[in-house]
Amino acid sequence: VAKPLCFPCCVSAGLLGWFLLSLALAGAQGLTPAHHLSLPDVARLQSLLSQQFTDLESAYYSVLGLTKLGAAVSDHKQVCRFIKSQLDPTSIDSVFFAAEASQAISGCEIPVSNETRDILLAAVSEDSTMTQIHRAVSALSSLGLPVASQEVVGALTARINKEDNVMAITSALQTAARLSKQAELGGILEEIEDLTARLDDLGGIYLQFEEGLEATAMFVTAAYSLSDHVDMEPPLKEDQVIQLVNSIFSKKSWDSLAEAFSVASAAAALSNNRFHVPVFVSAQGPATVSHSQPTLQLLVTDVMSQPLASANVLVESAYAVASKSIILNQAPFTLNDGVFELNFMSKQPASGYYQFTIAVTGDSRLVANHVELKVKVSTEVAVANMDLSVVDKDQSIGTKTTRVDYPSKAKSSFTADSHQNFAMSFQLVDVNTGVELTPHQTFVRLHNQKTGQEVVFVAEPDSKNLYKFELDTAERKSEFDSISGTYSLYLIVGDATLENPILWNVADVVLKFVDEEAPATIQAKTLYVPKPEIQHLFREPEKKPPTVVSNTFTALVMSPFLLLLILWFKLGANISNFSFSPSTILFHVGHAAMLGLMYVYWTHLNMFQTLKYLAIIGGVTFLAGNRMLAQKAVKRYVS
């Protein structure tokens, strides 16, 4: 009989207070990032950006993208030569790409002529597109040429009214970030809030523009770029920042250089701005500790997987999931070679699962710095006091108890017939602490060596955590199909928190059943064998009477007609008054035709055709009949 386990209760009021506080904190904390750029992702992004470039635009994306990721651009001189050779001084786009790319690599100066400068300055007007204004202003700024900031602001404000789409306003934000701080950038700064309102919230996890990944990533880059420039916190809530992180970094392969560049820019912006730095906390390897692996190791990085060396990581609280008792409170992690470590086993936790609330502090910019982590403590189990005995049913005292030690097998086999029960008792203890364990899986398997049949039972612990298993041969004979013989007895112990699951052949048991059937080898259930064919039973035709009977009755039914003719003859009915006028003849012909139509209807036609013919014949017959009867009436009146 299984008895319910008693759980240990919460310990003291003080701990209870901390427990409630940690729960409140857990409720107060917001989202944590589901996606970020792991080191392989960053490597992939870098290799995409390092591809050989074919024109100035791809050179711009490659060079600037790699710079933002902190990677080195190979062979600066060759890149510089390429840029200079591809430069078209009359095109704003060309000058923009060349200027920005050359600024990123050292020792590359683009010569600028007066015409180029004039073209760039002329682009700053409300008649140019937003892209042109952005590129012109950026090029001027990169080339070190003076820019009339207030004019630019005026042009941008006018353009925002005309071009209301997301990419245009993002370009405006980028442009404003290149202007002098003395200019009136407040109006453009407000656009960040307007754009934030246009983001789509997907399931509370993602926040993105319907225009796609590139628009979202460039918006994030531009918003933080401008906010850093004017030193005002962007109006993005922490949850929104995390949702943006999820949207931007959920895609792990990028379709175009422009998309890759936008992701790299966003990653750089989010790891290095003055206001919001999202933190990504994950366990290195599985979040499991045991005696052989006593330290819990955490990686604390920004969205680009760069470690946050200046951070302090501590466990605010940790409690056991099963018992809810607090085991850790404000325990700090130590930084060891870029990884944060905590020796959890020193607190000697019992095996099981623990919920950790981890806080990352040390920088006011950190976002999503409270993380919940589930940690598993695993241990090794040992079977102790394994006692096997055969108990007589009449007396409850065991005849002989044999102790077996793991992993050896009992020397002699045990015999149990219908008068006896086979009993087994044991304890499962934690090897390191000696505490009794109740793993999820404790099975006793009996395997018939000859027939291959196996029967599995569950061993259940009593209130003192002592496992007992009893096999009543008479009661259980249906499970065994009453097949007597030698069965190997195995003990199976397993659990998610056990490092050493046990499969132990404890002993051999000879079972004797009454009413034994001839032992047949157990065949695998024939589930997938073709089943017997079903023969379709067609509807039986109804029983018809023999033809003789039908024919007799047909004749019988015809006979009254004969009687009718006889009676009419006797009454003196005749057709001597038949007048041969055309209407009479026509009427009779028509009437006969109608009767013939009835027969044809029965054999060949359907209702619609019949009605059609009936209408024609009937019409004729009616007219003729009308005539004929009128004549008869006249004749009757006259006579």
Partner: protein, 113 residues
């Protein structure tokens, strides 16, 4: 008792043969014929079973319908009922009889299967 029944019947037959016009007797003979045909069909159904049911129904309804229409014709052409059928001449009655029969036979033929 049986005496009075027999005398009633013989009296009825006498009255019938003397006072009924010939035309009506012709129609009466037709009625008897229809009646017998219908009765025989019904007897067959009772003896052998209703398969095929639709054919039995159409045959039987044909008899019943014809009987009813013939009775209507007889009522309408009876000279003694002339007062009640002033607007309907015997020819008109006969024409109605024929038209109704056409419709009846259309239905019967449809149902006979």
């Amino acid at each position: 008792m049986s005496n009075s029944v027999i005398s009633v019947i013989s009296r009825f037959l006498e009255e019938y043969s003397s006072s009924t016009p010939n035309k009506l007797k012709v129609v009466d003979a037709y009625l008897l014929y229809i009646l017998l045909t219908g009765a025989l069909q019904f007897l067959y159904c009772l003896l052998v079973g209703t398969f095929p049911f639709n054919s039995f129904l159409s045959g039987f309804i044909s008899c019943v319908g014809s009987f009813i229409l013939a009775v209507c014709l007889r009522i309408q052409i009876n000279p003694q009922n002339k007062g009640e059928f002033l607007s309907i001449s015997p020819e008109r009655a006969f024409a109605d009889f024929l038209f109704a029969h056409t419709v009846l036979h259309l239905v019967v033929m449809n149902f006979i299967g």
